[in-house]
Amino acid sequence: MEDEIVLQIRNLTKKFGSVVAVNNLTIDRINKGEFVTFLGPSGCGKTTLLRMIGGFYYPTSGDIIMHGQRINDIPPENRKTSMVFQNYALFPHMTVYDNIAYGLKIRKLTHEEIDRRVREIIKIVQLEGMEKRKPNELSGGQQQRVALARCIVIEPEVILLDEPLSNLDATLRVLMREEIRRIQKSLNLTTIFVTHDQEEAMSMSDRIVVMKDGEIQQIGTPEEIYEKPSNTFVASFIGYINLIEGRVIGKKDRSLVIDTPIGKLTNKNVEILGISTGRKIISVIRPESIELKKQTSGINAENTISGKVKNYTYIGSIVRYTIEVKGLQNNMIVSVSNPHGKGVFKEGSVVTLILPKNFHCIQE
C-alpha cells in the first residue's frame, strides 16, 4: 500500500535580514503517521523550519505543501498543524480542562462534543483528576501532557513538537519519550519533532532529518543515520565515532583495500565496492564495533592494530577507552559492552584492536 503524503517541503529558504537560517531545503515527503525528527545543533535552522511549517514565520522563498496544497501564506490559525511549544505555552489563566478545550471551543463544537473529546484525551495522556488545576499547580511532566493533549485534541494533520522534552529532568525525559511515542503510534499522528538530543532522535523517530547551517545533511531511518552517515558531520554528531582518512589502493577478494595512517585496512562492505582505486575515503568505525584484546604476540591478522590505553571511562554498561594508536593524530575510541567480570584494561596497557571487516566509508 502506498503511503499517503501529508507534507512536502520544496526549496524552502528563510532569511532574517542577511542571516540565512534555512537554505534551499527540500524534504520530498512526510507520510501519514510518520514520526520525523529534525536533528541538529542549535542554530542549524531546525526550529525555524518547524515554525515555518506551523505558520509562525513566513518563508523567504520556496514552498510548504500540505496534501498537495501550498500553505505558505496561510496564517497559523488556519493551518492544520498544531504545535507543542518548548516551554509548553499553557494559558496560565485557564485550567487544564479549559486549556485543552480552547481549540475545540474556537471550532465552535457543541458543548457535549467538546466535553467528550477533552475527557477522552485527558484519559489518553493520563491526567484524570487534574482537570480543575491551573498550569502552575502541575509538575513539569504534567504540564507537558497538557500541552500535548491540547495540541492533539483538535486532531491536526501534523503535530509539531519544538524540543518539548528539554525542560524536563533526565528520568522524566526518557519516560515522556516513550509516552509521546506511544500516543503518537496509537493515534497514528503525523509528527515532526525538533531536538538537538541525538539519543532522543534515535529512540523516537521513524526518520531523522539531520541539519546543519540551515541545510539538510542526511535524511534517513535511525539505522541509516547511525550506520551509514553520509558525511563526517552526521557521523560525528550521532554517538562516538572513529574517522580514519585513507585512500583506496586496490581490490582483493571482493573487498576494498584502503591505505590509512594505521596501516592497510580491508573492507568487505559491498555497498562501497564500486569506489575506484585512488579515491580518498574516510573509514567510519563505531567504537562498539572494535574488539579489544590483550596484546599477546606480533600482529599480522587483517584489520588488527596495536595501541596503548590512554584513559578509560567506566559507565557500568560499557567501558569507553581512549587508545593511542601509532600513526593516528586523534586517539581511537573503543567501547566494550558488559564489562562486568571481563576486567578493565588500565591506563598504559598495550592492547590489540580488532577492527571490523565490514564498515561504512564516506567518500570525500
Binding site: 532574517f16 506551523g54 514565520y57 504545535m83 511549544f85 516551554n87 494559558f91 480552547y102 491540547r150
Partner: protein
C-alpha cells in the same frame, strides 16, 4: 539561535487588518492629542505680529521681568534638587546602614508625600508659618514663609518620595563588601563614605537629581500657592496667558520649559537605562551592621528625623485645620468645612473625570503596548517616543497646547469636560503604556502563538489570552491615572470652565482666598482617596511584578 525575532518590512502586522487599523488610529490620536498641541506651542512661540520670527525670544532675554522667571526657576530647581538628594541620602543611609531606631518611622515619613496632592505642603506651611500662622500664634514671632523659603521647603517635601525611592534603591544595591574592603584596607569610615559609597552611588544620585530637577521646573501648585509673587516659569506662563492674554510669550515660556524636560527624559530613557555602575561581582555576602561613628550617623539621623517630623506635622495641621472652625483662632471642632456644596461638586467632577480618563487610558495604553511589543509596527520607537512625550512635557505646556489647538473648529473642545479627560488621558497614557510593555515582556510570546496555532485569530487571541494576562497592567494603569487625575493641576487649570471645576483646583483657589479650613478639608478628602488608590496600586504591583512607579 537565529530564529528569535521575525522582522520584515511591516513587522508582524502582515495580514492583520484589525491591528493595522488600530495602529493607524492610535497614531492619529497621538498626533492629534500629543504632537499637535506641543507643536502648536512651538509655532506660537515664534509668531510675532503675524510673522514668524525670533522676536519673542529676543524679548524674553531682553526684559528682566521675563528672564528672571527662568533664573528663579533654575535656581529653585538646583536648590530643591540638592536638598532633596541630601535628605534622601540621609534617610536612606540611616535606614540601610546604621542601627539607629525609628527606621520604619523615617521610611513612612519619606514616602508619605506620595499620598498627598503635590501642593499640600504649601498649604501646611501657610498654616504653620504664614503671616498669622501657628508660629506667630505660639511665639509672637512674625514669619513670612511666602517666596523662596516656602517654595524650597514645599518642593523638597513634595519630591522627597521620588528622591528617596531612587537613592534608597541605589544604596541598597551597593555591594556591602566594597565598603568592608575599604575599611579593611585601612580607610576610615568618613573616608569610606566619601571615597567609596558616595562615588559608587553617584550615577544613581545623578539620575535622581535629574528627575527631581524637572519635577521642580514643572511644578505648578507650590509656586502658585506659596510663591508669593516670585516669578517662576510655570506660573508665569499661566499668568501671561490668563492675565495678559499674551499667548506668544506664554508659548516661549513653555518651549523653554519643554527643552530641559524632554532633554532629561531622553537622557533617562535612552542613555541611563541601567542607571548606575553599581558593581556587584561574585557572591555578595550578607554583612552585619557596623557601628557607625557618631559624627557620621547623628547629623544624618537628625536631618532625616527633622524632615520626617515636618512631614507628619504638615499632615497633622492640615487635618486639624479641616476639623476646626478656624484653626488656632477658634478651635471648636466642626465638620462644616466638609459640607461645602462647591466642594462636593468639584470632588464629584474630579472623580468622574479621573474615572473616565482612567478607563480610557488603561484600555488604550494596554492595547497600544500590545501592538508595540507584539506587532512591531514600522516606526515603533518613534511611536513610543511620541507617546512618552505626553508624560515628559510639563503640564503647563500641555495645558496651553490644548487651548491653542482645541479652542477653534474643527476640534472645538474648550469648556467641555471632554478636553479635561483627554488631557489627563494623554498625559498619563505613557504610564499605562510602560506598565503594559513591562508586563508583556514577562509573558512568553509562545502562549499567544499556541492560541493562534489552535485556531484562534489574532483578535481572538488578543481577547482571550493576552488581555486576561495583562489584567494587572490594566489595573495598575487604571489606578495610577485615576490617582493622578484626582490631584493634577498644572495642565487642567487652563482647561476648566464654570461648572467643570476640579477638587484639586478648588483647593488652590480656596487657599489663595484664605479659606484654609475648606481647603484643608478638600485636601484631606483627596488624600484619603489617593491613599486608597495607592494601596490598591501597591497590591497590584506586588502581586504581579508590574512596574508602575518607574520614572514617576
Amino acid at each position: 539561535m537565529a530564529d528569535q525575532v521575525e522582522r520584515s518590512k511591516i513587522g508582524e502586522l502582515r495580514g492583520d487588518p484589525f491591528f493595522i487599523v488600530l495602529t493607524i488610529l492610535m497614531t492619529i490620536l497621538l498626533l492629534l492629542f500629543v504632537v499637535y498641541p506641543v507643536t502648536s506651542v512651538l509655532i506660537t512661540s515664534f509668531r510675532s505680529e503675524g510673522q514668524i520670527s525670533l522676536q519673542n525670544y529676543r524679548d524674553f532675554f531682553r526684559y528682566s521681568y521675563y528672564y528672571r522667571a527662568m533664573i528663579n526657576s533654575l535656581i529653585l530647581g538646583v536648590i530643591t534638587t540638592t536638598v532633596v538628594v541630601i535628605v534622601s541620602f540621609a534617610i536612606s543611609y540611616t535606614i540601610s546602614k546604621t542601627d539607629l531606631p525609628l527606621k520604619q518611622f523615617l521610611r513612612t515619613g519619606a514616602l508619605l508625600p506620595l499620598i498627598s496632592p503635590p501642593f499640600i505642603f504649601s498649604l501646611a506651611l501657610i498654616i504653620i508659618a504664614g503671616r498669622r500662622g501657628l508660629i506667630y500664634k505660639l511665639t509672637g514671632i512674625s514669619t513670612n514663609i511666602y517666596g523662596w523659603p516656602g517654595l524650597i521647603i514645599a518642593q523638597t517635601l513634595s519630591f522627597l518620595p521620588l528622591g528617596f525611592l531612587m537613592v534608597n534603591n541605589v544604596l541598597q544595591s551597593l555591594n556591602p563588601n566594597l565598603e568592608e574592603a575599604s575599611l579593611d584596607l585601612g580607610a576610615s569610615q568618613v573616608k569610606t563614605l566619601f571615597k567609596v559609597i558616595i562615588p559608587l552611588a553617584l550615577p544613581g544620585l545623578f539620575k535622581a537629581s535629574l528627575l527631581v530637577f524637572i519635577m521642580s521646573l514643572a511644578d505648578f501648585g507650590n509656586p502658585m500657592l506659596i510663591g508669593g509673587g516670585l516669578p517662576i516659569m510655570a506660573t508665569d506662563a499661566y499668568n501671561l496667558w490668563i492675565g495678559e492674554q499674551n499667548m506668544e510669550m506664554a508659548s516661549v515660556f513653555c518651549v523653554l520649559l519643554i527643552i530641559p524636560s524632554v532633554f532629561v527624559y531622553v537622557i533617562q530613557n535612552y542613555f541611563l537605562k541601567e542607571g548606575s555602575f553599581v558593581t556587584v561581582s561574585g557572591q555578595m555576602v550578607g554583612t552585619e551592621r557596623r557601628k557607625i561613628s557618631w559624627y557620621i550617623q547623628y547629623p544624618m539621623f537628625l536631618l532625616a528625623l527633622f524632615v520626617c517630623l515636618t512631614i507628619f506635622a504638615s499632615f497633622t495641621v492640615i487635618f486639624l485645620s479641616s476639623i476646626t472652625k478656624l484653626f488656632m483662632i477658634n478651635n471648636k471642632l466642626t465638620l462644616e468645612h466638609f459640607s461645602s456644596y462647591a466642594g462636593w461638586k468639584a470632588l464629584k467632577n474630579s472623580f468622574m473625570v479621573s474615572t473616565v480618563a482612567a478607563v480610557i487610558t488603561s484600555i488604550t495604553s494596554i492595547v497600544f503596548s500590545y501592538i508595540l511589543v507584539r506587532k512591531k509596527p514600522a516606526g515603533k520607537e518613534l511611536l513610543e517616543f511620541i507617546a512618552l512625550l505626553g508624560f515628559a512635557v510639563p503640564g503647563t505646556v500641555m495645558g496651553i497646547g490644548y487651548i491653542l489647538v482645541f479652542n477653534k473648529p474643527p476640534f472645538l473642545l474648550t469648556g467641555t469636560i471632554a478636553i479635561i479627560i483627554l488631557n489627563i488621558t494623554f498625559r498619563e497614557f505613557p504610564v499605562g503604556l510602560e506598565a503594559g510593555i513591562s508586563k508583556l515582556y514577562q509573558i512568553d510570546k509562545s502562549i499567544e502563538e499556541a492560541s493562534r496555532d489552535l485556531g484562534a485569530s489574532s483578535i481572538k487571541t488578543f481577547i482571550t489570552v493576552a488581555l486576561p494576562l495583562m489584567s494587572s497592567a490594566f489595573a495598575a494603569s487604571f489606578l495610577y491615572t485615576f490617582m493622578v487625575g484626582m490631584i493634577t493641576i498644572s495642565a487642567v487649570i487652563f482647561l476648566i470652565a464654570p461648572g467643570t471645576n476640579l477638587a484639586s483646583l478648588l483647593i488652590l483657589r480656596l487657599a489663595e482666598t484664605g479659606n484654609i479650613g475648606k481647603a484643608s478639608a478638600m485636601a484631606v478628602m483627596l488624600t484619603i482617596i489617593v491613599m486608597i488608590s495607592l494601596m490598591l496600586l501597591k497590591q497590584v504591583s506586588k502581586r504581579t511584578n508590574v512596574e508602575v512607579l518607574k520614572g514617576f
